[in-house]
Symmetry: C2
Subunit: 226 residues, 2 copies
């Protein structure tokens, strides 16, 4: 049974790695859509979301079959349950990248952002590009050190997100109401991608270190630990 | 084993019902905080969120133990896996109610909403109060008819949410930028609560009808089915 479990779990892990890579690419392309008015990139993210959804469904299906046929316990069980939740997290990150792409497509050929908000969003995008690279690397190597870095870095994204509100409330703000709505929603989508990356990182720490799930810190929506 | 499984599953189901009730109460009180400037209600929602988080941790813990010790298959396994995801959904609904309460507390004693947005938010709140009652009833009775109603009704919330943008972009808008930010974020929080209710309803339909999870429709963030 053990050999079969390891083989089947390897197949699920490959699908999960694939999801993380797809999400990383979606986030990067959504950034091109938003910051370079690349409407083809926007369309690619929107069209590609179905593949991420299909991968999630495949991961869930394989995990349920593993639970039924292999009846894993201890570490194996922890890995299967965590895999279910990681798949849900990546699926949401894909949705959020799609929302960014949809916002960029709607305002094309104009940018949805007023000029003086672009630098802040470039910084947020650079942060998310790096974070999504880290998520892929963390997952491939089950690397708790990278996971730690993702968790610790999230404050930087929150600080950038906070600055978008400061800008919108300052005398320097020169956008219209549509642009303000977009800045608020885009900022929220990007902040949530960061939160989900932190959630994935906590899950990997949990797999590696194996502490009791009932004592696992829950992720606050604002990126802080409750 | 079967008797033990049923007994232990009943304890988990009770905790899940308890979560749904706590979330319903949090949504109702968040509405009082937002629409009646009831700062004590706001504080109660904020303070009460830890209990919802603790219930989620307890549900996860019990489900993992059930999977390890009872090795459920078929319908039982489907119920356990769905319970894990329902708990995550309710935990997020609690977070969103808390965010509404925090927004109301921050602007107290003023409302965060400009006067001409209040009617729309009252309608959204009435919708969420009814929906969260439906979630509690659906869960207690595993009632697929109520689940169906939750899924079908969600369009109404999306339409109300859309109207908040129309108002913000119309000549009737008379709020300042802080109010516009709050209208956008509050609308988003409320819409997401509705989306999560739909997600919970789909999960209950899945438990009752038992179709293949790989063919389960995923919930789009905007409440539509992908």
């Amino acid at each position: 049974m053990r050999v079969i479990f390891n083989e089947e779990m390897k197949a699920v892990a490959d699908d999960l790695d694939h999801m993380a890579q797809d999400v990383r690419n979606a986030i990067r392309k959504a950034g091109d859509a938003l910051l370079k008015s690349d409407v083809e990139a926007a369309q690619a993210v929107i069209d590609g979301d179905a593949e991420i959804d299909a991968l999630e469904a495949s991961v869930i299906d394989q995990c349920v079959k593993l639970l039924a046929k292999q009846t894993p316990v201890a570490t194996d069980l922890r890995v299967v349950v965590s895999t279910l939740r990681l798949a849900a997290t990546f699926e949401r990150m894909g949705d959020l990248a799609r929302h960014i792409a949809e916002t960029a497509r709607r305002s094309y050929p104009e940018s949805p952002l007023p000029d003086n908000a672009k630098e802040l969003f470039c910084e947020m995008q650079a942060f998310l590009d790096e974070t999504s690279d880290n998520v892929v690397a963390m997952l491939a190597d089950r690397d708790a050190k990278i996971a730690d870095r993702i968790i610790r870095n999230d404050d930087k994204l929150d600080a950038l997100h906070h600055k978008t509100f400061e800008l919108a409330l300052s005398e320097n703000w020169n956008g219209n109401n549509q642009q303000l709505i977009d800045v608020v929603l885009l900022g929220r989508f990007m902040e949530r991608i960061g939160d989900h990356a932190v959630s994935a990182a906590r899950r990997v720490v949990f797999i590696v270190s194996g502490f009791d799930p009932s004592k696992e810190p829950t992720l606050d929506e604002d990126g802080a630990v409750d």
